[in-house]
Amino acid sequence: MKIRAQRRLLDGLPLAVLSALALASLGALGPRYGGRLAIGVLDLDTDGSPSFTRDRGARLLLGLSHETLLALDDAGAIAPSLAQRWSSAAGGREWTLELAETARFHADTPVTADDVVRSLSRFLRSGSPAAALLAARLEGGDAYRRGTSDVLAAISATDVHRVLLRFAAEQATPPAELASPAAAITSADGAGCGPFSLAHVVRGERAALLAFDRHVRGRPFVDSVDLVRYADRPAMRLALEQGKIQAALGESGATARVARLLLLLDTERDLFHSLAARRRVARGFDRDVLVRRFMPEAQTACRLLPNESARCDSPARLDAPNTPDAPLLLTVDSTLNPLASQRVVAHLVALGYRVSVAVLHPDAVVSTPADARLLLWCPEVNESLLALHELALLAGTLKPQQLAVFAAEAAHGPHQATIDEQERSLLATGAVVPLAVAPLAAIGPTPLGVNVTPTGVLLLENTWLPL
């Protein structure tokens, strides 16, 4: 079955909105332009160019200043963005995307099909997991991604506003991978076409964005957005409480539960090379205690994809340590609540490991060699199959035949049964241990509509409300 309803089973998890009271007040007043929104972040490792990153501050910045061809709604369904219409030919092997004629870059030049071809060519060679899957599906995409060919015939401009995509096999829908922030469309000189133009950015410190009047969906509601990086959570929390910022990304708060706390066990390292060792870690973890005492805003998670009906089994009794005091290096996402990290460490210590912790930027948590990783994960693209593919890459368990399955399912529209099977398969490896679904942002009192997307991007809900 490849019906849209299945996609809705994905936990698109609409992201929490500001308090109903605040919104009601806003509605009563009616939308109006103006205002400055300050958002605190714990990471901001970007220069503003589109790229794949797990840095949530960077994702926010890219989401505000860039635009993609396609978007996904909360349910994971494909929605128009820069591309307003699309059609297929050759039995679904060719798809033509038609650009909105009003789409313009911040430099006030029109967004053309040539800009799309150039941007997607850059995207295919990026580190994005979604790009890897798209390349596997496009005709000659793999050779281009690997660099063995510089010719990419699969993406071409048929006229100023139309882009043709050629696939190796028939496709049921346009590729959801094009909704990845890394697939944002930029001009030849790097200008974006998102709702806000980047006024300036100081990497790792702050960024300032100004509303873009000629955005394809209209002018944003707020006049400007400032991103401010804080060194730690207490400082950011204090700034939120003092009203210096209106939202804090990475801080617990009344927002959507969109980030998933995962414990990744590296199957290539001696400590977790055996399945038994990995299962021992996973089975005995008490998620209830973690959530109840250390992540009160979170919920337990024993699945990789959102599934409200899933209930976690009771934790198994911890075995006596097999290798007492075996040294274990754990890299921890610096945006994670430290108490949650302490609980995971305590669990590993109780299993007999002597744990050393390295607290790192979310990207470094994945790239730094370690026995285990504790990561707050948001999918690159809010689509179940792409998310599973990304997780398999993260866990290092993706095999060629599995990649073929992912590509085939993405082409025809994924079956729920296949998604479930892939998820079970990934869980069975014991390399990815879901622990909790955690809130990602705290929103302070503000008349502005602010929310967080399932991909971890802060959304300004009433940005495009008409006057």
Binding site: F294, A346, V349, V355
Partner: protein
């Protein structure tokens, strides 16, 4: 290789240094050791006191922990009104002053924990040092993980809502505890976890720099960050030690200063002793050295000035004895010379008598024969017998010839004696010895007879200072002597040689050689084995060579050859007064 014996001054120098240094060194060592020992003793008392203080403080903490944990277990926990057992250790529930507190169920699962809430629901996983479980490493939540800290705890059974539980509480034993100790200024206190190879010390403690301590001796010294510490240690439990250390104190500085001063005093003593030894040895040795210098002169026959009779009694006595011995030696020599002179005169008189007697006898016989013949002729003449004038005339001529011959012989003897007595003082001038030899040989070559003359003259011999006439006379005598040794012919080989001090002339004949008893008297005046010889030729030759500062060596092989070698210095010595005086007096 022979070793040159040490001089008297060197002996004295060594003896003085030893005598001066040994007592000072011994005194310095004794003083330094004494100070060091007393310092060790003081340091040991301070370190021992610190260890005792730490133990006392630990016992106090143990008692406090026991009292507070008992109160919690008996009273507070059973009465606690909380819904979740995990909240039992919350400060709002239990009022305690224990930084460490946790509650465990009978299975050892952490029910509640104040210092590491993350462990709730998990098995207790502490590392326990002591058998009673009081000393343990406990995980304490810190940042994203935990830190293992050393604790001193007490346990007590309790109940909460009919659950049997155990409450454990206590104090940290690392930084906080160590910082709270009232230790003397500068003293470092630490706990060494041998099991994990870690120090439990305050952040500024120098002990942290001690990477691999060996604590078994329980006390010693160690240098940390360029500072020396005395340390003492004692085990708290198996694998856990209390270590106290104090830096080098002022007393250490005093010891070092003392050692330095001792070294300086020893060096000064060595210097002073050396100077004193040099002066004293000079004072002692100077007369001896004068004696040593005078002895060779005495041996050469030079009397010189008498030794000053000064200095120590023994040395003065030695000088006096030397003077007396020298005086006696020269008197004895003088007597010997006089005896030799007398003997020489006697010998001369005997020779003269002998030599003169020989020609006188033929003269006497001739004259007596003439007189007898004349008397007999006169008697005949008186008796009227006819005289045989022819016979008388023949006899008269023969007698006259004989008398004249003997008179010539007498004159020759007298001339020879006269020449010996009148040997002139040599007048030195640069002389080519090779040329002189050739001239002498040329002069004597006509008288060589059957003797073949062969020369080997070294080329390029440096000229020597010599009296040409006297030296040709000496050489001539030796050449003539050689000719006389080879009456039936033979080989005369004359060679000139270069020597270290001058030149040498070797005159070798192939004659029968000289018997040993004759060789010893060769140069005695008037000694001769030849008929008609005066025995003065070799004496004159030796006298001339001696006046040139040289000597004549004789080497003879019986039946084969005899070699006379004149060894001449390139420059004659200053005239020997005594010999010149002797000859003038002669």
């Amino acid at each position: 290789m022979t070793r040159t014996p040490m001089t008297l001054r060197a002996h004295l120098l060594v003896a003085f240094v030893i005598v001066a240094v040994v007592p000072i060194l011994a005194l310095s060592l004794a003083l330094t050791l004494r100070v060091a020992r007393s310092q060790e003793s003081a340091a040991a008392r301070r370190l021992g006191g610190a260890l005792t203080a730490v133990r006392t403080r630990l016992n106090e903490l143990r008692l406090v922990a026991q009292a507070r944990v008992s109160a919690l277990g008996d009273r507070d926990i059973p009465a606690a009104q909380v819904e979740d057992e995990a909240d039992l250790t919350s400060p709002s529930v239990l009022h305690h002053d224990l930084p460490i507190i946790e509650i465990l169920d009978p299975a050892g699962i952490v029910v509640a924990s104040h210092h590491w809430p993350a462990a709730i629901g998990l098995p207790d996983h502490d590392f326990v040092f002591s058998t009673d479980g009081a000393l343990r490493l406990q995980a304490v939540g810190e940042g994203y993980a935990y830190r293992e800290r050393l604790t001193l705890t007490a346990s007590h059974a309790t109940r909460w809502r009919n659950q049997r539980l155990t409450v454990r509480g206590g104090f940290f034993l690392d930084e906080d505890f160590l910082a709270s100790l009232a230790t003397p200024l500068g003293m470092a206190v630490g706990l060494r976890d041998e099991r994990h190879g870690e120090w439990r010390v305050t952040s500024e403690s120098p002990l942290a720099a001690w990477s691999s301590p060996v604590l078994d001796p329980r006390r010693g010294q160690v240098t940390l960050d360029a500072l020396t510490y005395r340390w003492a240690a004692e085990p708290l439990e198996a694998g856990l030690w209390i270590v106290v250390a104090i830096p080098a104190t002022e007393l250490d500085d005093v010891t070092r200063e003392l050692t330095r001063l001792s070294a300086l005093a020893t060096a000064a003593a060595v210097l002073a002793a050396a100077l004193a030894a040099l002066w004293f040895s000079a004072w002692i040795a100077r007369p001896v050295q004068r004696l040593a210098r005078a002895l060779p002169a005495v041996a050469r026959g030079e009397r010189g000035d008498p030794m000053p009779v000064t200095g120590a009694a023994e040395v003065a006595q030695l000088a006096a004895e030397f003077n007396r011995m020298t005086a006696e030696l020269f008197e004895s020599r003088e007597r010997l010379l006089q005896a030799e002179r007398v003997a020489a005169w006697r010998e001369m008189a005997r020779r003269l008598a002998h030599e003169l007697k020989n020609p006188i006898f033929p003269i006497q016989v001739s004259i007596e024969t003439l007189r007898r013949v004349f008397d007999r002729g006169a008697a005949r003449y008186a008796s009227g017998e006819a005289l045989d004038n022819d016979e008388f005339g023949r006899l008269f001529r023969e007698s006259c010839d004989t008398i004249l011959d003997e008179l010539r012989l007498l004159r020759g003897i007298i001339d020879e004696f006269s020449r010996f007595a009148r040997l002139p003082q040599p007048r030195f001038a640069p002389t080519d010895i090779g040329l002189l030899v050739e001239q002498v040989l040329a002069l004597h070559r006509p008288g060589a007879g059957l003797v073949t003359i062969e020369t080997e003259l070294a080329p390029g011999l440096p000229p020597i200072l010599a009296d040409r006439d006297l030296l040709s006379h000496a050489l001539g005598n030796l050449v003539a002597n050689a000719f006389e040794a080879m009456p039936d012919g033979g080989m005369l080989r004359v060679r000139t040689l270069s020597t270290a001090a001058g030149v040498a002339v070797a005159i070798e004949d192939s004659g029968p050689g000289i018997p040993e008893e004759q060789r010893l008297r060769l140069f005695t005046p008037y000694f001769t084995t030849k008929r008609g010889g005066t025995g003065l030729g070799l004496s004159i030759a030796q006298s001339i060579v001696a006046d040139h500062g040289g000597r004549i060596e004789v080497r003879t092989e019986a039946g084969r050859s005899t070699t006379f070698t004149l060894i001449l210095p390139s420059r004659p010595p200053a005239p020997a007064g005594t010999r010149a005086a002797d000859r003038q007096s002669d």
